[in-house]
Amino acid sequence: MDPREWFRGLPIVARQEFVGNVRSVRFLIMAFVTALVIVGGSYGFSGLGGGLFQGPAVNVWTHPAYAADGSHVAVAWVSDPFGNRVVGATVVFEEPETPTAGRQFAEATTDADGFARADAGNLTFVFVTARQGFAEAGSSIQFFPRPPLNFTMVTAAADLDSDGFVDDLGIHVVDLTGDPAAARILVNGTERATADARGYARVDLGPGTSNVTVEIAGESETFPWTAFEVPVVGGPDVTLAIIAGGFGLLFMPIFAIVISFDAVSKERVQGTLDLLLSRPASRTGILLGKFLGSFAAVALPVTLVNLAGIAVIGAATGESPTGGFALAFVGLSLLLIAYFVLLQLILSTLAKTSGTAVLFGVLAWLVFNLLYNIIVLLISLPFDPQTRFQIQQAATLGNPSLVYQNLVFAAAPGDLFGGFGGTTLSPGALGVAAVFWFVFLLALALWTFHKKAAE
């Protein structure tokens, strides 16, 4: 055949495939879902610094109290991280046997106000553990022979308003009989809060060091508190890494599969394939047309959505992701889409029915996003840890999804996850693997279509 005729029919089939795809219902659904995941995720994970870091669901605030006869009473108040009482939590009281382990001497359930109390006799030290479901919090109580003040207090700080600083100071105050006390809270000499009926108060201190004063019936205690920054990873690049290497990695292939899983098999099933093959078009032209038409139908909306996601990250965090990283994400996404479109064209050519084509699509996604890792793990398990590590590193190259993921991460700033994770593979090796996978899948798709299109 004349080399100029090799690609005959390509633009015609590509245009038809593209127009047919973007007019389909499945295209609209997938474009919507992808936008929701990528743009929504970009917005949601931009707030990563605060909201998701709250520690356990329950706090336990413990106090020493003294009965009229001078015996000790262990007092525990159980709340959520925001100071709302938790009713019905189990509280276990233990006396120490070793510095770290204890022997239970009492168990109680928190009352309607969130309090649990236990008679501690003459014990001077008590471990307290509160449990609600699988949420658990522990504390301890030290009994003094002569209490220094007419109240006891416990403080706990967290970043409850997601401002990136651990400066939200919760204070729980009871009097020496163990009842909630009407405390006033002053910050740098100014009254800022009053304890509620259960003895809880909270103040937002702001950055820097503050002097906090707790005052009850003329007695007071003042202590300094320095707010520190939330020690978790965050920022635009981390959000982008989560979107690019996580959500995008999983959802962009789904879009590609949904669009292209029946590109050939549908023509076969509905009987239009023979008519198409009888046209003056080369099989190479038809297959490449199918590829480009499906690819464009996925790549166009995904690129728009990816760019929108990057813009949203910039708007939500007030800081744009690193340029090279963002660019690598947008560019390599096209490669990931191309991989899965080509893979589906191969499988679609082999599928004799629509059902098989759907099954192949689901399997392709499962294999590269889930089963591959499990299989690599199973294969590497019998080896010593060093060999296991090396097998797992090398196996990255055998999965186009992982090649994409590691190439995207290779373009990210080095300390992204505090240096955790990553790969020992060089960007060069990953780049060669990326090109290999594209060429290999393209050649296989062409060969399969030439051989099997109409058998």
Partner: protein, 337 residues
């Protein structure tokens, strides 16, 4: 699949003359197709035929004989295991694009893209032949009007009836004005009026100078349209000649049967009939007798005289002329619809 009944006897050999004209537009030689590897099913076995320019060639055979496989090879949908095909002087695998430029295919199963309109199909298909949108629309409108499909031009194909799809299939087949038409069961699934319409159309197309390869399992269709007929069974051509020659062979070669309705036919009468010159065999039936004559023998008067003379009450005597249909059925082992 039975191979035991292959027509290798002297009776069928005679029909296998296939003079291959150098001016043949379709020239098929030794076409063999095996599905599923070396131990697979042999769908075609050495199929050879040719169709001259402006000829109408009838490809006749029961369902599953290999007609559609042959057509899919001619349309380059599948490749043969062996054999060559030249259409319009071009080899089908060395120069497929040149062949396909000049080829119109009407498949048996008329299938289209359900969400496209009839006109969108024609515009899409036309673009493969370098037709602009406007050109395809103009040509398509003319064709669809001629085919009585003008009202449905802008309707989606999923709303088409079978007959409408057949017409659209013909429209896409003729759109680029090909010189060679490959038609697989064009009358399949049509009512008598529709079949007649297609017959007239095919005659007209042939008059316009098209070379037509027509596959069918309906003898009547082929008999009325084609000059030459090839009969295929179990992947082999079992007879090939002009309709006139095949019929002539029948007149001289094929035995004829007298169906006799009579009462009181005794053993003695049957023996007397069997003894008549020119009688090949006699069988008693519920109605009376079936008497088979030797080829060319005119036994009617003698049989009648013998029966009446033997005391039988003769009611009716009907000579059964062997037709192309009998030939077709006998060649294809009685297979058919």
């Amino acid at each position: 699949m039975s191979n035991g009944g292959n027509p290798s006897g002297p009776h069928t050999r005679r029909f296998l003359s296939s003079p291959r004209s150098p001016a043949a537009v379709i020239d098929v030689e030794g076409l063999t197709k095996v599905y599923g590897g070396s131990r697979g099913v042999k769908a075609l076995d050495g199929v050879t035929f040719s169709v001259p320019e402006r000829g109408v060639f009838g490809f006749l055979g029961p369902n599953g004989a290999g007609k559609t496989t042959t057509i899919r090879i001619l349309a380059t949908a599948i490749e043969p295991t062996e054999g060559t095909v030249r259409i319009g002087g071009h080899d089908l695998w060395e120069d497929p694009l040149a062949v396909k430029e000049n080829l119109g295919l009407m498949p048996d199963e008329v299938a289209f893209y359900p969400t496209l309109t009839g006109m969108q199909h024609l515009v899409y298909y036309g673009s493969f032949y370098g037709m602009s949108r406007a050109e395809a629309r103009k040509k398509g409108s003319e064709l669809l009007a001629k085919l009585g499909l003008a009202d449905a031009v802008e309707k989606k194909v999923k709303a088409y009836s079978h007959g409408m799809k057949k017409r659209l299939a013909l429209a896409q087949c003729l759109l680029h004005d090909p010189g060679v038409l490959i038609m697989d069961e064009p009358a399949n699934g049509l009512d008598p009026a529709g079949m007649r319409y297609f017959r007239d159309l095919i005659r007209w197309l042939n008059g316009e100078g098209k070379t037509i390869f027509l596959s069918s399992h309906l003898l009547s269709e082929v008999e009325q349209l084609c000059e030459r007929v090839g009969i295929i069974d179990h992947g082999r051509i079992v007879a090939m000649d002009t309709i006139a020659n095949l019929t002539a062979h029948l007149a001289t070669d094929a035995p004829s049967v007298l169906r006799v309705t009579a009462r009181g036919v005794t053993e003695a009468v049957v023996d007397a009939v069997r003894a008549l010159p020119g009688v090949a065999s006699v069988e008693t039936t519920a109605l009376g007798l079936d008497v088979t004559a030797s080829p060319g023998a005119d036994i009617g008067p003698e049989v009648a005289r013998t029966l009446v003379g033997g005391g039988a009450a003769l009611r009716e005597m009907r000579g059964e002329q062997r037709s192309l249909e009998d030939l077709f059925l006998s060649l294809t082992k009685g297979g058919g619809d």
